[in-house]
Amino acid sequence: MSENEKAVVDIDRSVYDIKDVENEQDFYRMEDGFTEDIVMKISEEKHDPEWMRKFRLDCLKLYNSLDMPPWGPDTDELDMNLISSYVRSKSDMKGKWEDVPEDIKNTFERLGIPEAERESLAGVGAQYDSELVYHNVKDEVSDQGVVYTDMESALTGEYSEMVHEYFMKLVPPTDHKFAALHGAVWSGGSFVYVPKGVKVDIPLQSYFRLNAAGAGQFEHTLIIVDEGADLHFIEGCSAPKYNVANLHAGCVELFVKKNARLRYSTIENWSKNMYNLNTKRALVEEGARMEWVSGSFGSHTSYLYPMTILKGDHSQMEYTGITFAGKGQNLDTGAKVVHQGKYTSSLISTKSISKSGGIGTYRSSVVINKEAKHAKTSVSCDSLMLDSISRADTIPGMDIRTDDADVGHEAKIGRISDEAVFYLMSRGLSEEDARAMIVSGFANPVSKELPLEYAVEMNNLIKLEMSGG
């Protein structure tokens, strides 16, 4: 078989790569770098309360004192002095789609966001660079008492005390260098509160678009699902490709109260100049359930390990993820879970595909503390190598501190089996179709967990078409 026949075509990113020129008349851009002056200016721009201004400055000091972890992908080419921490449109956030500035509206329409809102979402937040440009929630959802707003409004409005109580308490700025940076320069993001017993039947979505070259996006998402409530939240991300590095250091904090359920789905398709150093964490209380569905396709470099703390007895988590590392990408992804409560359970299932020199690393940790009697965990990670110039590594870790735990782990790394290709060819498929079908089947456990529209988007992203010889 020739190399040409074996090749898997790269993802078609054309719709994501359209660059919308940002001129100085319509956009405000903070000077590059991360200094005390810049942090103060961001704080002024956002009319922060005093506690937040102080918090930002403390975080900046912390950022400057922390080192990069020695274990992850190389970030030497990310020059922080060339990153602008804050870029915003001079237009305010709109509650009506038609009021959004034309150029920004066009960008989101190309990505299908308003269409998805009309057809399948209970509410949408659209962030363009550092600020939300559009936020809307359907009346029937807000009538149930569900709050879905931008973080800035929550910080200074009716929910300010709640924000103060929860903001960066789950992901403290001391967690790592880029959590500290996030605390210093965060901007945008969403605040969601689902009251006790309320079940939101259709998902809410935030879409993050980083359009400006050499910019950072630092949105903060804070979701509180109160006792017995139920929510599915979807997060999408994209950016056009530039020749300079962009940075995404968002932070997601999720509080899942007693007997509540939260599903958090992400389709990440940042451009291949993006350093995606994102932090996501959930605190799950008694009888509650946290579900993560994660697809990582874009970025030049990713550090992404959603973490779940199973604090309450009988709490549960499930993580289903896929990572596709292509040419020039170093995607270091996985999940972390801490079992604290009794009778807690976790299930981690991941798929990873590496091709064209891409580096895909699955990294995880499972910690079962001494108090977590009767904890159960099962970890399964499968990696598929599509050529011999790529890398697929699995680096899981388990720390078990009680005998009263049931721990299962399995990992597999391999290639597309010749037998499977032969079998499908004996049923009339061409070799290319057979290989494409096997890879689609490999990704299927993740795509079936997504709503139909997003599963289609994911399949489009994978685009595992085989080129004919």
């Binding site: 972890p69 020695p70 274990w71 992850g72 992908p73 190389d74 170093n330 270091d332 972390k336 580096i359 690393t361 990294r363 940790s365 001494k370 990696s383 190598m385 599509l386 050529d387 011999s388 110039i389 790529s390 890398r391 697929a392 590594d393 699995t394 680096i395 899981p396 870790g397 388990m398 720390d399 078990i400 501190r401 009680t402 005998d403 009263d404 735990a405 049931d406 721990v407 299962g408 782990h409 399995e410 990992a411 597999k412 790394i413 391999g414 290639r415």
Partner: protein, 387 residues
């Protein structure tokens, strides 16, 4: 003297909070009184023994295979958090790493080399026994060299006087030339006041085979590492490790199979029991290098936790730079299953006795692979005594 060194580096670093990226040995006021390898009880005629050799002599033994390793190096990126550069300069990469080489050099530890002649297969094992006296501190270094199409079995037994305090540090390096086979068996039954490390590194050329059996039953704190480089095509590494840790014993291990040649095979099995306040850290890595097409690797870990105060860390790593490989890892960690206990109780065996039975069964499933009946009996007796 004091020994302070970091060993057992995970081949690819991970989260620092797991505290498993490496392990620190910090021992104070040791007086190393003996660095000579004890003479074996019997030496088969096909085996020659040379003592008092230097590291330069060892370099010469491994010269050809090291040139072959260099020639096969691919210019491709290593894993994220690659620790390979930390151990550059080792004549043979070992599980515990360059720090042990440095210690041996610093202490001028002479190397004893066992060489089995080309084409010969030793019928009887070479048995090397370290018996530690109370208060003694011992270092030892050996090379086992199996020439083309030869086979050798070496049993290394470590024991001590009852309640002896002391220190025993051993490094064993292996070279299996084309078609050769080395069986290395290590049985550690030291007193619970002895500090111990056991470092192994080996290279397998074409169609060669290294088989290791480790029984870790005693000592206070134990560090162990095996790193086998499957350099040649169709070379094989099989390891079976059994360990029993109780009281406040710690066992920190690092096993690595570097698969370089085509159609290589590695198979690592670990069966252990943790009791009381024992702490175990297991690092096991299958590393499929570029060019290792057709290779397979499997590591299986089965740990029985029998106390609420034990700590078990498991880091099962697979690194892969080659498409045409099949790498697998499985781990099962937990208590005795209810079904096992129910079965035992239905046969009139209470829970405590059932646990003792299961511990013995696990340990003996590894011990029975040792080709020395007397040794198996000694292991069975040792386990009975401590249970």
């Amino acid at each position: 003297m004091d020994i302070k060194m970091n060993v057992n580096h995970l081949p690819a670093l991970t989260y620092r909070f797991l505290k498993a990226n490496d392990s620190e040995i910090d021992l104070k006021d040791l007086y190393i009184e003996d660095t000579k390898t004890p003479e074996p009880e019997n030496i088969p005629s096909s085996v020659t023994v040379k003592s008092d050799l230097s590291e330069d002599d060892v370099k010469e033994i491994f010269l050809k295979v090291n040139e072959k390793i260099e020639s096969k190096k691919a210019d491709l990126p290593g894993p994220n958090g690659d620790t390979a550069p930390l151990n550059d300069g080792q004549i043979v990469r070992t599980g515990m790493g360059a720090a042990v080489d440095n210690l041996m050099k610093e202490m001028n530890v002479p190397v004893t080399v066992y060489t089995v002649s080309e084409g010969y297969k030793t019928e009887e094992p070479v048995v090397v026994k370290y018996s530690l006296k109370n208060g003694s501190c011992v270092l030892g270094s050996q090379v086992i060299h199996a020439k083309k199409n030869s086979e050798i079995t070496v049993i290394m037994e470590y024991d001590s006087e009852e309640n002896a305090k002391g220190f025993l540090g051993i490094q064993t390096r292996l070279l299996a030339e084309e078609g050769a086979k080395i069986n290395l068996i290590k049985v550690q039954m030291l007193s619970e006041d002895v500090m111990h490390f056991d470092d192994v590194g080996g290279i397998c050329d074409d169609n060669a085979d290294i088989e290791t059996i480790n029984m870790q039953l005693g000592a206070k704190d134990t560090w162990g590492g095996d790193r086998i480089t499957l350099l040649g095509d169709k070379s094989i590494y099989n390891n079976h490790t059994g360990y029993l840790c109780r009281h406040k014993q710690t066992y920190d291990m690092n096993y690595v199979a570097d698969q370089i040649g085509k159609k290589t095979e590695s198979n690592m099995i670990f069966r252990g029991v943790l009791l009381d306040e024992a702490v175990k850290t297991f690092r096991g890595t299958l590393d499929f290098k570029a060019g290792s097409a057709g290779s397979v690797g499997d590591e299986q870990e089965d740990t029985l936790l029998l106390s609420p105060d034990v700590i078990n860390r498991t880091m099962p790593v697979i690194l892969c730079q080659e498409e045409d490989v099949d790498g697998r890892h499985g781990a099962s960690i937990g208590q005795l299953g209810d079904d096992v206990l129910f079965y035992m109780e239905s046969r009139g065996i209470d829970e405590e006795e059932a646990k003792r039975l299961m511990i013995r069964a696990r340990m003996e499933s590894i011990a029975r692979m040792i080709p020395d009946e007397a040794m198996i009996v000694r292991i069975q007796q040792y386990i009975r005594n401590i249970l």
